[in-house]
């Protein structure tokens, strides 16, 4: 029974991961078209991919937007989660639901709504719209992670700090914040990944100069099908793997996902 179960798991993982393996393998091929397995190995398509302004600019845009959005939502999330976890006021649960709600609104809907709203108020700067939109979609992750940290946090530490003469503000800075820092960092990293990966919202908001990398890849694929796409995708796969490993090191991936 246990062996069968293990075989099933192995099959599922193979099904999920095999396409990624193929993408990475193809990216190292020397042929001018996508072929698997590659007959000769080369880094030619990596060089090619980074020569394309579309990809270079897209990568830069995604990193900047993701970085800004993730930092902002980590800070906003810290405030929101601290209020929800620590202050006793009416409608706490409702507020938590509001902060988590972007998770359940379809991205496409939110993208259209934001496009319409920004046109209404005369907001035309694409990158401002993008950063704002990405703050909204990454905020739930930050709030959730920091709330999880608070749930695990024993308030006796704060009582101890108070008996040692620390004011409420000092207690927050010297005790609470350092102890929930893993949640804060995990929230920011998770937010970065979510932002980096986003298509449905971004696609309504980008212009020629603010194209993010997933959208750049999509638009390139419309007219070209060569291994440079595989190369840039491999770069993304490795970066995301790096972030996942970092999350695992900081808080443990299981805890991050709240299971």
């Amino acid at each position: 029974m246990k062996t069968l179960f293990l075989i099933l798991i192995a099959l599922i993982f193979t099904f999920l991961l095999a396409p990624l393996v193929i993408v990475v393998a193809v990216s190292f091929g020397a042929e001018p078209s996508v072929s698997f397995p590659p007959k000769a190995l080369s880094l030619h398509w990596y060089a090619q991919a980074f020569e394309l302004k579309l990809f270079r600019q897209g990568l830069l845009n995604s990193v900047v937007i993701g970085g800004l959005a993730a930092s902002a939502s980590a800070l906003l999330g810290l405030g929101a989660a601290t209020a929800i976890a620590r202050l006793k006021f009416r409608g706490r649960a409702a507020l938590e639901a509001v902060f988590l709600s972007p998770l359940i609104v379809p991205g496409v809907l939110f993208g259209i709504a934001l496009l319409a709203a920004s046109a209404q108020i005369g907001l035309h700067a694409s990158w401002v719209k993008l950063v704002l939109a990405h703050i909204v979609i990454t905020l739930p992750y930050a709030v959730r992670m920091i709330l999880t940290s608070y749930a695990r946090f024993d308030t006796t530490y704060e009582e101890a700090a108070a008996t040692l003469g620390a004011s409420a503000f000092q207690t927050f800075c010297y005790v609470t914040l350092p102890m929930i820092r893993p949640g804060l960092i995990a929230g920011a990293l998770f937010g970065f990944v979510i932002s980096f990966d986003n298509v449905p919202v971004s696609i309504f908001l980008v212009d020629a100069d603010t194209t993010t990398i997933p959208i750049a890849i999509m638009s390139y694929l419309e007219y070209n099908f060569d291994p440079s796409v595989a190369a840039i995708s491999s770069v993304l796969i490795v970066s995301m793997l790096g972030i996942a490993l970092a999350l695992e090191r900081i808080v443990g991936l299981r805890k991050t996902l709240g299971t």
């Binding site: 024993d154 530490y157 009582e159 700090a161 108070a162 008996t163 003469g165």
Partner: protein, 361 residues
């Protein structure tokens, strides 16, 4: 050093009254233990003194000054928590320096005083370690050092030893006692362990249902518990309904007869009482060994060897529905007593002054 006084303190959580109109006054330099079962309000009382719990009504006075609404961080206290609450993101030294820095000491001064506090608890080499690298007993001493390093007026200790094993706990009891004496600090200690309370305290306050049932020196609590609750809590396990006769005897009725014991109950003559007999004060004789006249002839139904003492379950021959427990020392026992095994017949006697009588209310 500080005098502490609680006046008519009450505290409720929802409909549960955790502290019920409690009065307590502690002299400067005294070591007082709040003793009681879990849920009796002892920890809440301690937190009310610390300022971590705001009483619904009542006043907390320190050196005659009302501090009831003074924020915790402005009170001059040192507290050790049950979980110790050593900050895991700081080293041992930084933990101890924390309070000094918050109270405005310079970094160099804090470092110097933290080092000398660590010296005092014999952990000088551990300044740069993380708390998690220390053993339970060492963590305990760090928590103590952190609490006393800023020379607080009072030390508040909330069951700090409950996580330690027995040997270490006994060592720490003595260490804490010596330390508070050496520092001359007023100490309030919370525990549910009667032995701990007796060993450490100048006075013990036994708490029940948010009130203090009795506050007194340890020997008075142990020998003359004022209520059946206190008696039960300090180890008196034989309780019976009885009647005090005119002739100075207390009579305990069983189904088929009664047993009579000589007792000091002159002021309770002719009334029904609850009788408490401490197992350790029993004296066991063999038959024909010159036992006093009011000794009770019993059969041994169970004998449990407990190391230093032997615990006997005894059933009086003429009232087999009663059951008495007696504990006799294993060492220096008269030869004539034999093995004290099941089925043996013995005479058991409680000296009149050891018999506890409580008027039936």
């Amino acid at each position: 050093m500080a005098d502490i006084e609680l006046r008519n303190i009450s505290k409720s959580y929802g409909s549960t009254r955790v502290i019920d109109c409690l009065n307590l006054s502690i002299r400067s330099g005294e070591f007082v233990t709040l003793l009681g079962p879990s849920g009796c309000g002892k920890s809440t009382t301690l937190k009310a003194i610390a300022g971590l719990v705001q009483p619904d009504i009542g006043t907390v006075l320190v050196d005659g000054k009302d501090v009831t609404s003074l924020p915790v961080n402005q009170r001059n206290i040192g507290m050790v928590f049950q979980s110790l609450a050593l900050f895991p993101h700081l080293t041992v030294g930084e933990n101890i320096m924390f309070g000094l820095l918050r109270r405005g000491a310079s970094k160099a001064e804090a470092k110097r005083r933290a080092a000398s506090a660590l010296d005092l608890v014999r952990l000088s080499d551990f300044f740069h370690r993380n708390p998690s690298q220390l053993s339970g007993g060492q963590q305990q001493r760090v928590a103590l050092a952190r609490a006393f390093v800023s020379k607080p007026a009072m030390m508040l200790l909330d069951e700090p030893l409950s996580a330690l094993d027995r040997k270490l706990r006994e060592d720490m009891q003595i260490e804490i006692r010596q330390l508070t004496r050496q520092l001359g600090v007023t100490a309030i200690f919370v525990t549910h362990d009667q032995h701990e309370a007796i060993v450490m305290s100048d006075r013990i306050a036994v708490m029940n249902l948010g009130r203090i049932e009795q506050i007194d020196r340890p020997e008075a609590i142990f020998e003359r518990p004022r209520t059946p609750f206190v008696a039960h809590f300090v180890g008196v396990s034989n309780f019976f309904e009885g009647y005090v006769t005119e002739s100075g005897f207390v009579e305990i009725k069983g189904g088929s007869g009664s047993i009579k014991l000589k007792a000091h109950g002159d002021n309770l003559c002719g009334t029904n009482v609850r009788v408490g007999l401490r197992p350790e004060t029993a004296i066991v004789y063999s038959e024909g060994d010159g036992a006093p006249g009011d000794a009770i002839l019993c059969g041994v139904t169970d004998a449990v060897y407990q190391g230093a003492q032997l615990s006997l379950d005894l059933v009086p021959v003429n009232t087999p529905d009663l059951c008495l427990r007696a504990k006799v020392p294993t060492a220096n026992r008269p030869q004539s007593l034999g093995r004290l095994a099941r089925g043996q017949k013995v005479l058991v006697h409680w000296p009149a002054e050891s018999i506890l009588l409580y008027p039936n209310s």
